[in-house]
Protein backbone atom coordinates (compact mmCIF):
# COMPACT_ATOMS: atom_id res chain seq x y z
CA UNK A 1 0.00 0.00 0.00
CA UNK A 2 2.79 2.41 0.96
CA UNK A 3 4.56 1.61 -2.26
CA UNK A 4 1.41 2.31 -4.28
CA UNK A 5 0.79 5.62 -2.45
CA UNK A 6 4.41 6.60 -2.97
CA UNK A 7 4.16 5.84 -6.66
CA UNK A 8 0.94 7.85 -6.98
CA UNK A 9 2.56 10.81 -5.17
CA UNK A 10 5.56 10.63 -7.45
CA UNK A 11 3.26 10.64 -10.46
CA UNK A 12 1.41 13.66 -9.09
CA UNK A 13 4.68 15.53 -8.55
CA UNK A 14 5.82 14.64 -12.04
CA UNK A 15 2.46 15.73 -13.48
CA UNK A 16 2.67 19.00 -11.56
CA UNK A 17 6.20 19.62 -12.80
CA UNK A 18 5.12 18.94 -16.36
CA UNK A 19 1.88 20.89 -16.40
CA UNK A 20 1.91 23.17 -13.37
CA UNK A 21 -1.71 22.24 -13.05
CA UNK A 22 -3.04 23.54 -9.77
CA UNK A 23 -5.80 20.97 -9.83
CA UNK A 24 -3.21 18.31 -9.01
CA UNK A 25 -1.54 20.21 -6.16
CA UNK A 26 -2.65 19.77 -2.57
CA UNK A 27 -4.68 22.75 -1.37
CA UNK A 28 -2.51 25.55 0.05
CA UNK A 29 0.65 24.68 -1.85
CA UNK A 30 2.51 27.73 -3.15
CA UNK A 31 4.36 27.12 -6.42
CA UNK A 32 7.83 28.49 -5.86
CA UNK A 33 10.91 29.14 -7.84
CA UNK A 34 12.00 31.08 -10.85
CA UNK A 35 13.89 34.35 -11.04
CA UNK A 36 12.43 37.27 -9.09
CA UNK A 37 12.33 40.85 -10.38
CA UNK A 38 13.64 42.87 -7.42
CA UNK A 39 11.82 45.94 -6.23
CA UNK A 40 13.62 49.06 -7.46
CA UNK A 41 15.63 51.06 -4.95
CA UNK A 42 15.92 54.81 -4.58
CA UNK A 43 19.33 54.53 -6.25
CA UNK A 44 17.74 52.78 -9.25
CA UNK A 45 15.41 55.74 -9.69
CA UNK A 46 18.24 58.23 -9.18
CA UNK A 47 20.30 56.43 -11.84
CA UNK A 48 17.51 57.04 -14.37
CA UNK A 49 18.29 60.74 -14.02
CA UNK A 50 21.74 60.08 -15.49
CA UNK A 51 20.31 58.69 -18.72
CA UNK A 52 20.03 60.94 -21.79
CA UNK A 53 16.80 62.91 -22.21
CA UNK A 54 14.44 60.93 -24.43
CA UNK A 55 11.34 62.71 -23.12
CA UNK A 56 8.69 64.27 -25.32
CA UNK A 57 6.80 62.94 -28.31
CA UNK A 58 8.75 61.50 -31.22
CA UNK A 59 7.32 62.04 -34.73
CA UNK A 60 8.70 59.69 -37.39
CA UNK A 61 10.40 61.43 -40.32
CA UNK A 62 7.97 60.26 -42.99
CA UNK A 63 9.89 61.83 -45.90
CA UNK A 64 12.84 59.59 -45.03
CA UNK A 65 10.57 56.54 -44.71
CA UNK A 66 9.32 57.22 -48.23
CA UNK A 67 12.78 57.98 -49.64
CA UNK A 68 14.26 54.73 -48.36
CA UNK A 69 11.69 52.71 -50.32
CA UNK A 70 13.79 53.71 -53.34
CA UNK A 71 17.24 54.44 -51.90
CA UNK A 72 17.63 51.56 -49.45
CA UNK A 73 15.55 48.52 -50.43
CA UNK A 74 16.07 45.36 -48.37
CA UNK A 75 18.24 42.67 -50.04
CA UNK A 76 15.26 40.43 -50.84
CA UNK A 77 16.15 36.90 -51.88
CA UNK A 78 15.27 35.38 -55.25
CA UNK A 79 12.02 33.89 -54.02
CA UNK A 80 10.77 37.15 -52.50
CA UNK A 81 11.99 39.67 -55.09
CA UNK A 82 9.27 38.88 -57.69
CA UNK A 83 6.60 39.01 -54.99
CA UNK A 84 7.79 42.50 -53.99
CA UNK A 85 7.80 43.65 -57.62
CA UNK A 86 4.25 42.40 -58.00
CA UNK A 87 3.19 44.39 -54.92
CA UNK A 88 4.70 47.57 -56.39
CA UNK A 89 2.79 46.94 -59.63
CA UNK A 90 -0.48 46.38 -57.75
CA UNK A 91 0.10 49.59 -55.78
CA UNK A 92 0.68 51.63 -58.93
CA UNK A 93 -2.50 50.15 -60.44
CA UNK A 94 -4.52 51.50 -57.52
CA UNK A 95 -5.01 48.03 -56.02
CA UNK A 96 -2.58 48.04 -53.10
CA UNK A 97 -1.77 44.80 -51.27
CA UNK A 98 -3.45 45.37 -47.90
CA UNK A 99 -0.63 44.05 -45.72
CA UNK A 100 -1.21 46.10 -42.57
CA UNK A 101 -4.93 46.85 -42.77
CA UNK A 102 -6.25 44.31 -40.30
CA UNK A 103 -5.35 46.32 -37.19
CA UNK A 104 -2.99 43.71 -35.84
CA UNK A 105 0.18 45.43 -34.55
CA UNK A 106 2.67 46.38 -37.24
CA UNK A 107 5.17 44.61 -34.96
CA UNK A 108 8.92 44.57 -35.40
CA UNK A 109 10.57 45.78 -37.52
CA UNK A 110 7.66 47.43 -39.37
CA UNK A 111 6.88 49.82 -36.49
CA UNK A 112 10.30 51.37 -36.99
CA UNK A 113 10.04 51.27 -40.80
CA UNK A 114 6.57 52.43 -41.82
CA UNK A 115 4.46 53.55 -38.89
CA UNK A 116 3.80 57.27 -39.34
CA UNK A 117 2.21 57.99 -36.00
CA UNK A 118 4.20 59.38 -33.06
CA UNK A 119 5.63 57.45 -30.11
CA UNK A 120 6.96 58.17 -26.63
CA UNK A 121 9.71 56.41 -24.65
CA UNK A 122 9.63 55.81 -20.90
CA UNK A 123 12.52 54.96 -18.57
CA UNK A 124 11.80 52.89 -15.46
CA UNK A 125 14.26 50.79 -13.43
CA UNK A 126 15.47 47.89 -15.52
CA UNK A 127 13.35 48.80 -18.52
CA UNK A 128 12.91 51.05 -21.55
CA UNK A 129 9.31 51.08 -22.81
CA UNK A 130 8.16 52.48 -26.14
CA UNK A 131 4.47 53.29 -26.61
CA UNK A 132 2.78 54.29 -29.84
CA UNK A 133 -0.12 56.52 -30.87
CA UNK A 134 -2.67 55.02 -33.25
CA UNK A 135 -2.09 51.97 -35.44
CA UNK A 136 -3.17 49.79 -32.54
CA UNK A 137 -1.34 47.92 -29.84
CA UNK A 138 2.13 49.40 -30.16
CA UNK A 139 4.24 48.53 -27.14
CA UNK A 140 7.89 47.51 -26.92
CA UNK A 141 9.45 46.39 -23.66
CA UNK A 142 13.25 46.53 -23.72
CA UNK A 143 14.71 44.93 -20.59
CA UNK A 144 17.88 46.65 -19.37
CA UNK A 145 18.27 44.68 -16.12
CA UNK A 146 20.97 42.41 -17.52
CA UNK A 147 18.74 39.43 -18.22
CA UNK A 148 19.42 37.15 -21.21
CA UNK A 149 16.88 36.14 -23.82
CA UNK A 150 14.87 33.08 -22.82
CA UNK A 151 16.11 29.90 -24.49
CA UNK A 152 12.87 29.58 -26.45
CA UNK A 153 10.98 32.86 -26.24
CA UNK A 154 7.24 32.78 -26.93
CA UNK A 155 6.94 34.45 -30.36
CA UNK A 156 5.29 37.87 -30.21
CA UNK A 157 4.67 40.82 -32.55
CA UNK A 158 7.44 42.94 -31.02
CA UNK A 159 9.77 40.13 -29.94
CA UNK A 160 11.86 39.76 -26.79
CA UNK A 161 14.20 42.74 -26.45
CA UNK A 162 17.16 43.19 -24.15
CA UNK A 163 19.36 46.26 -24.06
CA UNK A 164 22.23 48.02 -22.35
CA UNK A 165 23.60 51.54 -22.41
CA UNK A 166 26.92 52.37 -24.08
CA UNK A 167 27.31 56.00 -23.09
CA UNK A 168 24.20 57.69 -24.43
CA UNK A 169 23.38 54.94 -26.92
CA UNK A 170 20.88 52.19 -26.14
CA UNK A 171 22.08 48.94 -27.72
CA UNK A 172 19.14 46.56 -28.24
CA UNK A 173 18.95 42.91 -29.28
CA UNK A 174 15.60 41.40 -30.32
CA UNK A 175 14.61 37.81 -31.08
CA UNK A 176 11.43 35.79 -30.80
CA UNK A 177 9.36 37.68 -33.35
CA UNK A 178 6.34 35.95 -34.89
CA UNK A 179 7.07 34.59 -38.40
CA UNK A 180 3.94 36.44 -39.57
CA UNK A 181 5.37 39.82 -38.63
CA UNK A 182 6.00 41.78 -41.81
CA UNK A 183 9.20 43.39 -43.01
CA UNK A 184 7.11 46.20 -44.53
CA UNK A 185 8.71 48.99 -46.54
CA UNK A 186 5.37 50.69 -47.19
CA UNK A 187 1.75 50.01 -46.25
CA UNK A 188 1.37 48.05 -49.49
CA UNK A 189 4.78 46.40 -49.95
CA UNK A 190 6.38 43.88 -47.61
CA UNK A 191 6.65 40.19 -46.76
CA UNK A 192 6.41 38.20 -43.54
CA UNK A 193 9.86 37.51 -42.09
CA UNK A 194 8.94 33.78 -42.00
CA UNK A 195 10.82 33.17 -38.76
CA UNK A 196 14.34 33.20 -37.24
CA UNK A 197 14.62 36.98 -37.60
CA UNK A 198 17.10 38.89 -35.43
CA UNK A 199 17.15 42.67 -35.03
CA UNK A 200 20.10 44.64 -33.62
CA UNK A 201 19.61 48.34 -32.85
CA UNK A 202 21.67 51.29 -31.67
CA UNK A 203 19.31 54.06 -30.61
CA UNK A 204 20.63 57.53 -29.82
CA UNK A 205 19.76 61.22 -29.95
CA UNK A 206 21.47 63.35 -32.59
CA UNK A 207 21.53 67.18 -32.60
CA UNK A 208 19.48 67.39 -29.40
CA UNK A 209 16.06 66.68 -30.92
CA UNK A 210 16.48 63.89 -33.46
CA UNK A 211 16.29 60.23 -32.47
CA UNK A 212 18.13 57.78 -34.71
CA UNK A 213 17.56 54.02 -34.66
CA UNK A 214 20.45 52.32 -36.48
CA UNK A 215 19.01 48.91 -37.28
CA UNK A 216 20.54 45.72 -38.63
CA UNK A 217 17.83 43.21 -39.60
CA UNK A 218 18.81 39.61 -40.24
CA UNK A 219 16.03 37.47 -41.76
CA UNK A 220 17.50 34.34 -43.31
CA UNK A 221 14.26 33.19 -44.98
CA UNK A 222 13.64 36.40 -46.97
CA UNK A 223 16.88 38.42 -47.08
CA UNK A 224 20.16 37.41 -48.72
CA UNK A 225 22.19 39.22 -46.05
CA UNK A 226 21.64 41.50 -43.03
CA UNK A 227 19.94 44.78 -43.96
CA UNK A 228 21.10 48.05 -42.39
CA UNK A 229 18.77 51.02 -42.15
CA UNK A 230 18.70 54.11 -39.93
CA UNK A 231 15.26 55.46 -39.05
CA UNK A 232 14.66 58.95 -37.67
CA UNK A 233 12.24 60.74 -35.35
CA UNK A 234 11.80 64.42 -34.45
CA UNK A 235 11.05 65.56 -30.89
CA UNK A 236 7.94 67.62 -29.99
CA UNK A 237 7.10 68.98 -26.55
CA UNK A 238 3.85 70.93 -27.00
CA UNK A 239 1.16 69.52 -24.70
CA UNK A 240 -1.42 69.61 -27.49
CA UNK A 241 0.76 66.99 -29.22
CA UNK A 242 0.72 64.54 -26.27
CA UNK A 243 0.25 60.94 -27.33
CA UNK A 244 -3.48 60.11 -27.50
CA UNK A 245 -5.15 56.76 -27.30
CA UNK A 246 -5.57 55.31 -30.78
CA UNK A 247 -7.54 52.10 -31.23
CA UNK A 248 -7.08 50.98 -34.84
CA UNK A 249 -10.15 48.77 -34.86
CA UNK A 250 -12.43 51.60 -33.79
CA UNK A 251 -12.58 52.79 -37.40
CA UNK A 252 -14.36 49.56 -38.37
CA UNK A 253 -17.36 50.47 -36.20
CA UNK A 254 -19.91 53.25 -36.04
CA UNK A 255 -21.76 54.58 -33.02
CA UNK A 256 -25.23 53.10 -32.69
CA UNK A 257 -27.83 52.04 -30.19
CA UNK A 258 -29.00 48.63 -29.09
CA UNK A 259 -32.66 47.71 -28.59
CA UNK A 260 -32.56 49.20 -25.10
CA UNK A 261 -31.19 52.52 -26.31
CA UNK A 262 -27.70 51.87 -24.96
CA UNK A 263 -24.72 53.43 -26.77
CA UNK A 264 -22.89 50.63 -28.61
CA UNK A 265 -20.44 50.16 -31.46
CA UNK A 266 -21.88 48.55 -34.60
CA UNK A 267 -19.57 47.03 -37.26
CA UNK A 268 -19.51 48.87 -40.57
CA UNK A 269 -18.56 47.65 -44.01
CA UNK A 270 -15.19 48.54 -45.55
CA UNK A 271 -13.71 47.96 -49.01
CA UNK A 272 -11.40 44.99 -49.61
CA UNK A 273 -8.46 47.43 -49.49
CA UNK A 274 -9.56 48.65 -46.07
CA UNK A 275 -10.80 52.12 -46.92
CA UNK A 276 -14.26 53.56 -46.35
CA UNK A 277 -16.84 53.11 -49.09
CA UNK A 278 -17.98 56.53 -50.37
CA UNK A 279 -21.44 56.85 -51.90
CA UNK A 280 -21.90 56.16 -55.60
Amino acid sequence: MKYVLGAVSALMVAYLAATGSPAQVPKGTIIKGGVMNPAPTAKDYADLGKLPDWSGVWDPKTSDQNAQIRTNPPPWNAKVQPQVQKMFAEFRAGKPRPIVVNCLPHGMPSWMLITHNPMEILFTPGRVTMLGDGDGNRLRRIYTDGRPHPEEPDPTFHGHSIGHWEGDTLVVDTVGILPQSFIAISEAVGVPNNGDMHIAERIHVVDKDYLHDDMVITAPHVLTKPWSTTRQWVRQRARRLDIVEGVCLQGSFVEGKDEDGNAIFVPEERSPYGNFIPPK
Partner: protein
Protein backbone atom coordinates in the same frame (compact mmCIF):
# COMPACT_ATOMS: atom_id res chain seq x y z
CA UNK B 1 -33.42 45.62 -32.45
CA UNK B 2 -32.82 47.05 -35.93
CA UNK B 3 -29.26 48.03 -35.08
CA UNK B 4 -28.63 44.61 -33.58
CA UNK B 5 -29.96 42.84 -36.68
CA UNK B 6 -28.02 45.21 -38.92
CA UNK B 7 -24.86 44.42 -36.97
CA UNK B 8 -25.47 40.67 -37.28
CA UNK B 9 -26.18 41.08 -40.99
CA UNK B 10 -22.98 42.98 -41.67
CA UNK B 11 -20.82 40.56 -39.71
CA UNK B 12 -22.52 37.58 -41.34
CA UNK B 13 -22.02 38.95 -44.85
CA UNK B 14 -18.42 39.82 -44.10
CA UNK B 15 -17.78 36.27 -42.94
CA UNK B 16 -19.71 34.75 -45.84
CA UNK B 17 -17.65 36.82 -48.29
CA UNK B 18 -14.64 34.67 -47.41
CA UNK B 19 -11.26 35.84 -48.71
CA UNK B 20 -10.19 39.29 -47.63
CA UNK B 21 -12.01 40.67 -44.60
CA UNK B 22 -12.80 44.37 -44.70
CA UNK B 23 -10.64 46.55 -42.44
CA UNK B 24 -10.40 50.20 -41.69
CA UNK B 25 -6.67 50.91 -42.23
CA UNK B 26 -4.89 50.95 -45.55
CA UNK B 27 -2.53 52.56 -48.02
CA UNK B 28 -3.88 55.35 -50.18
CA UNK B 29 -3.28 54.25 -53.76
CA UNK B 30 -7.00 53.89 -54.43
CA UNK B 31 -7.08 57.70 -54.60
CA UNK B 32 -5.80 59.63 -57.62
CA UNK B 33 -3.32 61.98 -55.96
CA UNK B 34 -2.41 63.66 -59.25
CA UNK B 35 -5.87 65.27 -59.37
CA UNK B 36 -7.54 67.79 -57.10
CA UNK B 37 -11.33 68.09 -57.22
CA UNK B 38 -13.30 70.81 -55.41
CA UNK B 39 -16.59 69.93 -53.73
CA UNK B 40 -19.00 72.29 -51.91
CA UNK B 41 -21.55 71.35 -49.27
CA UNK B 42 -22.83 71.30 -45.72
CA UNK B 43 -21.20 69.00 -43.17
CA UNK B 44 -23.49 66.26 -41.88
CA UNK B 45 -21.01 64.22 -39.82
CA UNK B 46 -17.38 64.15 -38.69
CA UNK B 47 -16.11 60.79 -37.41
CA UNK B 48 -13.07 61.63 -35.31
CA UNK B 49 -11.69 58.08 -34.95
CA UNK B 50 -8.60 56.03 -35.66
CA UNK B 51 -7.13 55.07 -37.95
CA UNK B 52 -8.76 57.48 -40.44
CA UNK B 53 -11.02 60.45 -39.69
CA UNK B 54 -13.94 60.70 -42.15
CA UNK B 55 -16.04 63.73 -43.01
CA UNK B 56 -19.49 63.57 -44.67
CA UNK B 57 -21.33 66.36 -46.49
CA UNK B 58 -24.45 66.99 -48.52
CA UNK B 59 -23.53 68.93 -51.64
CA UNK B 60 -21.60 68.41 -54.83
CA UNK B 61 -19.40 69.80 -57.57
CA UNK B 62 -21.85 72.63 -58.32
CA UNK B 63 -23.70 75.00 -56.04
CA UNK B 64 -27.14 73.55 -55.41
CA UNK B 65 -26.06 69.91 -55.70
CA UNK B 66 -27.49 67.89 -52.83
CA UNK B 67 -25.92 64.42 -52.75
CA UNK B 68 -24.07 62.60 -49.96
CA UNK B 69 -20.26 62.76 -50.31
CA UNK B 70 -17.66 61.19 -48.01
CA UNK B 71 -13.98 62.05 -47.51
CA UNK B 72 -11.22 60.25 -45.66
CA UNK B 73 -8.08 61.60 -44.05
CA UNK B 74 -5.42 60.63 -41.51
CA UNK B 75 -5.66 59.83 -37.79
CA UNK B 76 -6.88 62.25 -35.09
CA UNK B 77 -3.37 62.43 -33.59
CA UNK B 78 -1.84 63.40 -36.94
CA UNK B 79 -4.57 65.97 -37.64
CA UNK B 80 -3.85 67.68 -34.32
CA UNK B 81 -0.29 68.17 -35.57
CA UNK B 82 -1.78 70.08 -38.51
CA UNK B 83 -3.85 72.29 -36.22
CA UNK B 84 -7.18 70.43 -36.17
CA UNK B 85 -9.25 69.57 -33.11
CA UNK B 86 -12.20 67.21 -32.87
CA UNK B 87 -14.56 70.18 -33.18
CA UNK B 88 -12.74 72.24 -35.83
CA UNK B 89 -15.30 71.14 -38.41
CA UNK B 90 -18.86 70.66 -37.15
CA UNK B 91 -22.13 69.40 -38.60
CA UNK B 92 -23.92 72.36 -40.17
CA UNK B 93 -20.71 74.09 -41.35
CA UNK B 94 -20.82 75.19 -44.99
CA UNK B 95 -17.47 74.06 -46.42
CA UNK B 96 -15.33 73.89 -49.54
CA UNK B 97 -13.36 70.68 -49.86
CA UNK B 98 -10.32 69.92 -52.01
CA UNK B 99 -9.78 66.22 -52.43
CA UNK B 100 -7.94 63.52 -54.36
CA UNK B 101 -10.80 61.60 -56.00
CA UNK B 102 -11.26 57.83 -55.91
CA UNK B 103 -9.73 56.21 -58.98
CA UNK B 104 -13.11 54.65 -59.84
CA UNK B 105 -14.57 58.01 -60.74
CA UNK B 106 -18.22 57.24 -60.12
CA UNK B 107 -17.75 57.42 -56.35
CA UNK B 108 -18.73 60.58 -54.56
CA UNK B 109 -15.70 60.86 -52.32
CA UNK B 110 -11.95 60.73 -51.94
CA UNK B 111 -8.93 61.60 -49.81
CA UNK B 112 -9.31 64.95 -48.10
CA UNK B 113 -6.54 67.44 -48.89
CA UNK B 114 -8.00 70.67 -47.54
CA UNK B 115 -11.28 71.83 -46.01
CA UNK B 116 -12.24 75.50 -45.72
CA UNK B 117 -15.09 76.84 -43.59
CA UNK B 118 -16.86 79.24 -45.98
CA UNK B 119 -18.13 81.59 -43.25
CA UNK B 120 -14.69 82.31 -41.77
CA UNK B 121 -12.25 81.37 -44.53
CA UNK B 122 -10.34 79.24 -42.00
CA UNK B 123 -8.92 76.16 -43.65
CA UNK B 124 -7.37 72.91 -42.45
CA UNK B 125 -5.00 70.65 -44.35
CA UNK B 126 -4.42 67.01 -43.69
CA UNK B 127 -1.15 65.88 -45.19
CA UNK B 128 1.39 64.51 -42.70
CA UNK B 129 4.64 66.34 -43.23
CA UNK B 130 8.05 66.62 -41.62
CA UNK B 131 8.22 69.32 -38.97
CA UNK B 132 11.05 70.98 -37.09
CA UNK B 133 11.43 70.05 -33.43
CA UNK B 134 9.10 72.07 -31.23
CA UNK B 135 9.01 73.63 -27.79
CA UNK B 136 12.60 73.86 -26.61
Amino acid sequence: MKQYLKAIGIVASALAGGGQAAWAHHSTSMFDHAKTVTVHGIVTEVRWVNPHVTLWIKGGLKEGDDAVWGFETTSPGNLVRRGWSRTSIKPGDKVTIEMSPMRDSDSRGGALKKVTIDATGVSFQSNIRDEAPGGQ
